[in-house]
C-alpha cells in the first residue's frame, strides 16, 4: 500500500493464506452468528437471496481424474478506491478514516447501485424484513444492527469488534496492536489461514505478510486497491 498515512488512525486489513484455507466454512457460520445475518429460508435461497458476508468461492480446474480445486474466501475487500462508494447517492456507503468501507444501514435508501458496481459481488440486499423464529432471536448479537428490508449490507470487518478493541487499547492508554481486534471469521478459522490487523503499523502481522512474495489482491487491475490480501497457494 503506497498511499501516505494521513493520520495516526489504524488502517484495517486482512490477509488470507489460500494455501491454508481448506474451505471448511467455519468462518461463514461464525460471521452469520456474529453479525445477525438472517437465514432467508429455502424458497428465498433458491432465488439467490441468501446472505453470506463471507463466502467460499470454489473453482474446479481440469477434469476427472486430474481435477484441481481452488477455494477462495471472498468478503468485502474494503477497497481504498471502492467502486461502490461514489455511486451511492446518499452517502450510505463511504470510506472511513480508518480505511473501512462503511455501510450505514439507516442512511441506505436501497438503490442497490453499490451492489451493481461491486466487482466482487459482496454486497447483499434485504429483500424482505429478516425473520428469526422465536426464540432464535435471543441469539442476536446486541452489538450489531438488525437490518430492515430495503437496505444493503455487507462485511464490516466486524466493526463492533474493532470498536471494542480500540476501546480496550484506549483504556490501557496505548495504540492498538495485533490481537486487539479479531473479527469473527479470523477468530474461528480452523487452519489459522486468516490474519487481521493494522496495515499502517509496519510491525503488524498483516503488514509483514502483505509484503510476502505470495501476496496478491483480487482484481488488482481494476485499481480498487483492496485491503484484503491473498497469499497464493505455495508449491
Amino acid at each position: 500500500m503506497t498511499e501516505e498515512r494521513k493520520s495516526n488512525k489504524p488502517r484495517w486489513a486482512m490477509v488470507i493464506d489460500l494455501d491454508r484455507c481448506t474451505g471448511c466454512e467455519a468462518c461463514v457460520v461464525a460471521c452469520r452468528v456474529e453479525n445477525n445475518i438472517p437465514t432467508v429460508g429455502p424458497e428465498e435461497a433458491a432465488k439467490g437471496r441468501s446472505i453470506n458476508w463471507i463466502r467460499i468461492e470454489r473453482y474446479f480446474e481440469g477434469e476427472f481424474p486430474d481435477l484441481k480445486v481452488k477455494f477462495m474466501p471472498v468478503l468485502c475487500q474494503h477497497c481504498e478506491e471502492a467502486p461502490c462508494e461514489p455511486v451511492c447517492p446518499v452517502y450510505a456507503t463511504y470510506h472511513t478514516d480508518e480505511g473501512l468501507n462503511a455501510q450505514v444501514y439507516n442512511r441506505c435508501v436501497g438503490t442497490r447501485y453499490c451492489a451493481n458496481n461491486c466487482p466482487y459481488t459482496v454486497r447483499f440486499f434485504n429483500f424482505f424484513d429478516p425473520k428469526w423464529d422465536a426464540p432464535l432471536d435471543k441469539a442476536l448479537n446486541p452489538e450489531v444492527s438488525v437490518r430492515t428490508r430495503g437496505v444493503m449490507e455487507k462485511c464490516t470487518f466486524c466493526i463492533q469488534r474493532i470498536r471494542k478493541g480500540e476501546e480496550k487499547a484506549k483504556d490501557e492508554g496505548r495504540e492498538v496492536r495485533d490481537g486487539d481486534v479479531v473479527p469473527a471469521c479470523v477468530q474461528t478459522c480452523t487452519t489459522k489461514a486468516m490474519y487481521f490487523g493494522n496495515i499502517a503499523d509496519p510491525e503488524s502481522e498483516v503488514s509483514r505478510l502483505s509484503k510476502s512474495n505470495r501476496a496478491s489482491r483480487l482484481l488488482e487491475d481494476l485499481g480498487t486497491k483492496p485491503k484484503v490480501i491473498y497469499l497464493n497457494k505455495g508449491d
Binding site: R58, P86, P89, V90, V109, R112, N117, T121, F127
Partner: protein, 479 residues
C-alpha cells in the same frame, strides 16, 4: 394579422357536432374556415365518444392493477420482484430507461423542428410535447419505486438539515435526480407555453367552472400583439434551451451504467448511444400516438401522410444510427476479447439472451430500416408497423443492456439468472396503461393539435396571402 385571425376565430360561434364529420377536402383547396378547424380540433375535447371512455376505463383498470401491485410491493418489500443477487436491477430500470427514452419524442423533436422552422411540424408538436411530459412522469417514478425504502426518496434532495447530511453529488443517480427534474420542469413549460392561446380559446368556448379554470390557466390571454410577440419569443427560447437539457438527461441516464466498472456498461459511447436510442424510440412512439389520434379523433385532414412520411424518414435515420452504435459497441467488445466482456457478449449473441437480442435487432433494424427506406411502404400503416416494432424492440434493448451484464459478475462463481414476477410485469403493463390514461385525459382537456399553430401555418384565404409552406400534400395522398 394574427390578431385579426384570432378575433375571427373567437366569433366563429359554437361548434356543432356534425362539423366533425364534415366532407373531406384537401389542403390544396382553399383555406378551411376557422369554425371548421375549431370544431375539428376541439371535437375530442367536447365530444370524446364512447371509444374514449372505453380507453379510459381499460387503461384505468390496468393502472389500478399496477397500483395494487405497487402497494403489495411496498408492504412486503422488494422481494416480491424477481430481482436477486447479482441481478439487483431488472425491469424497474428497464422501464425507467425506456420511458425516459420515449420522452425524447416530444420535446426534442418538436424543439428541433421548431428551431429549424420545419413547417410540417405544426400538427405534430403538441402531440409530441404531451408524450414527453407523460413519459417522463412515468419514467421518473421508477427511481423512486425501485428503492428498497422508497419513503426515504427525499434524501436525494439537497435540503439543509441539522445532521449536516447531503446527497452525494458524485453519484450519477444524484445527477439523474437533477437532470430529470430539470427536464420535467422544462418540458412542462414547453408544453404549457404554446398551450396558452388554445386555453384561451377553450376558455371562450366553455362556461361555468370550466371556464374559470381554463381562464386561470390561460393567464389572461387576449391575443394582443404584445402577447403574441412574447409567446413566440418564449417558445423560441425554450425550444433552444430544451435541446441540451434533453440530450443531457439521457446522457446522464446512460452514465448510470457507463460510470460503473461493469463489463459492457463501462463504455464511453453510452451517452450518444442512449440519446440516439431515446430519439429513436421517441419518434416511434410519436408516430404510433399520431396514427391512433388521427384515427380515433378523425383528424385525417390534419395529420396527413406527409407527416408520417417525414417522421418515417426521421425514424429511418435513427434506425441506421442506432444500428451503427450497436454494431460499434458490440464489435469493439468482441475485438477486445476480454473474458469478462465476452461472458456478457456471448450470453447476448449466442447464449440465453440470444433470442431477445436478435429479436431486438430484427425489430429495430432488420425490418424497419428496409421498410422505411422504400417509399411504397412509408405510408401511415407502414410507419405504424415499423414504429410498433421499434417500440417493442427498444424496450428489449434496454432490458438487454441491463440484465445480461448483471447476471455475469466478474467471478464466475457468482453468475446468476433473472426471471420477472407478476408484480414486475403488472407494473410494466401499468406504465403503458398509465401513459394511455394520461394521454387520453389530456386529449379530453386540451386540443391535441395546436389550434393556433395550425392556423398560423395555413394560407390566409380571403386575405390573399400565399398558402402552404412546405411540400404539397397531393403527391403523398396519391402514393
Amino acid at each position: 394579422m394574427l390578431e385579426l385571425e384570432w378575433i375571427a376565430s373567437k366569433h366563429a360561434g359554437r361548434v356543432r357536432s356534425q362539423d366533425a364529420r364534415a366532407p373531406k377536402y384537401t389542403m390544396a383547396d382553399k383555406r378551411p374556415s376557422d369554425s371548421k378547424i375549431n370544431s375539428d380540433l376541439l371535437a375530442p375535447v367536447n365530444h370524446p365518444g364512447w371509444g374514449w371512455y372505453a380507453t379510459v376505463v381499460v387503461s384505468g383498470l390496468v393502472v389500478l392493477a399496477a397500483v395494487g401491485a405497487l402497494g403489495y410491493q411496498f408492504t412486503l418489500g422488494l422481494g416480491v420482484w424477481g430481482i436477486n443477487r447479482p441481478v439487483f436491477w431488472a425491469l424497474d430500470i428497464t422501464n425507467f430507461v425506456f420511458w425516459i427514452g420515449i420522452s425524447h419524442a416530444g420535446t426534442l423533436i418538436s424543439a428541433i423542428l421548431r428551431v429549424t422552422g420545419a413547417e410540417w411540424r405544426r400538427p405534430v408538436t403538441r402531440c409530441a410535447e404531451a408524450i414527453t411530459v407523460f413519459a417522463l412522469m412515468i419514467g421518473a417514478m421508477f427511481p423512486i419505486i425501485h428503492l428498497g425504502r422508497p419513503w426515504f426518496f427525499y434524501w436525494l434532495v439537497p435540503y439543509p438539515n441539522e445532521r449536516g447530511l447531503w446527497p452525494n453529488f458524485r453519484s450519477p443517480l444524484a445527477w439523474d435526480f437533477f437532470a430529470i427534474n430539470t427536464y420535467l420542469l422544462g418540458s412542462i413549460i414547453y408544453l404549457y407555453l404554446p398551450l396558452i392561446p388554445d386555453l384561451a380559446l377553450l376558455r371562450d368556448k366553455s362556461r361555468g367552472a370550466l371556464r374559470r379554470i381554463y381562464g386561470v390557466f390561460s393567464l389572461g390571454w387576449r391575443g394582443t400583439q404584445l402577447q403574441w410577440d412574447r409567446l413566440e419569443r418564449a417558445v423560441r427560447v425554450m425550444a433552444v434551451v430544451i435541446i441540451p437539457v434533453a440530450v443531457s438527461v439521457h446522457t446522464i441516464v446512460s452514465w448510470d451504467f457507463a460510470m460503473t466498472i461493469r463489463p459492457m456498461w463501462h463504455s464511453t459511447m453510452f451517452g450518444p448511444y442512449f440519446v440516439a436510442g431515446a430519439i429513436f424510440s421517441g419518434i416511434a412512439a410519436l408516430i404510433l400516438a399520431m396514427a391512433i389520434i388521427r384515427r380515433v379523433f378523425h383528424l385525417e385532414e390534419y395529420l396527413r401522410p406527409i407527416h408520417f412520411n417525414n417522421l418515417g424518414l426521421l425514424l429511418l435515420t435513427m434506425s441506421l444510427i442506432w444500428f451503427y452504435f450497436t454494431f460499434g459497441e458490440y464489435l469493439t467488445s468482441w475485438y477486445g476479447n476480454e473474458p469478462e466482456e465476452m461472458a456478457v457478449f456471448n450470453s447476448k449473441i449466442s447464449g440465453p439472451y440470444a433470442p431477445l437480442f436478435w429479436g431486438t435487432v430484427v425489430c429495430c433494424f432488420a425490418i424497419p430500416a428496409p421498410m422505411l427506406a422504400i417509399k411504397r411502404f412509408r405510408t401511415i400503416k407502414g410507419t405504424m408497423i415499423a414504429s410498433a416494432l421499434v417500440v417493442i424492440g427498444m424496450w428489449f434493448e434496454r432490458f438487454l443492456i441491463i440484465v445480461p451484464t448483471l447476471t455475469h459478475p466478474r467471478f464466475t462463481f457468482n453468475w446468476g439468472s433473472y426471471k420477472p414476477t407478476w408484480v414486475e410485469l403488472t407494473l410494466t403493463a401499468g406504465t403503458f396503461g398509465y401513459f394511455v390514461l394520461l394521454y387520453a385525459i389530456f386529449t379530453r382537456l386540451f386540443p391535441i393539435i395546436a389550434v393556433w399553430e395550425y392556423k398560423e401555418g395555413l394560407p390566409l384565404g380571403e386575405h390573399g396571402e400565399p398558402t402552404i409552406v412546405g411540400t404539397p400534400d397531393v403527391e403523398y395522398e396519391s402514393a
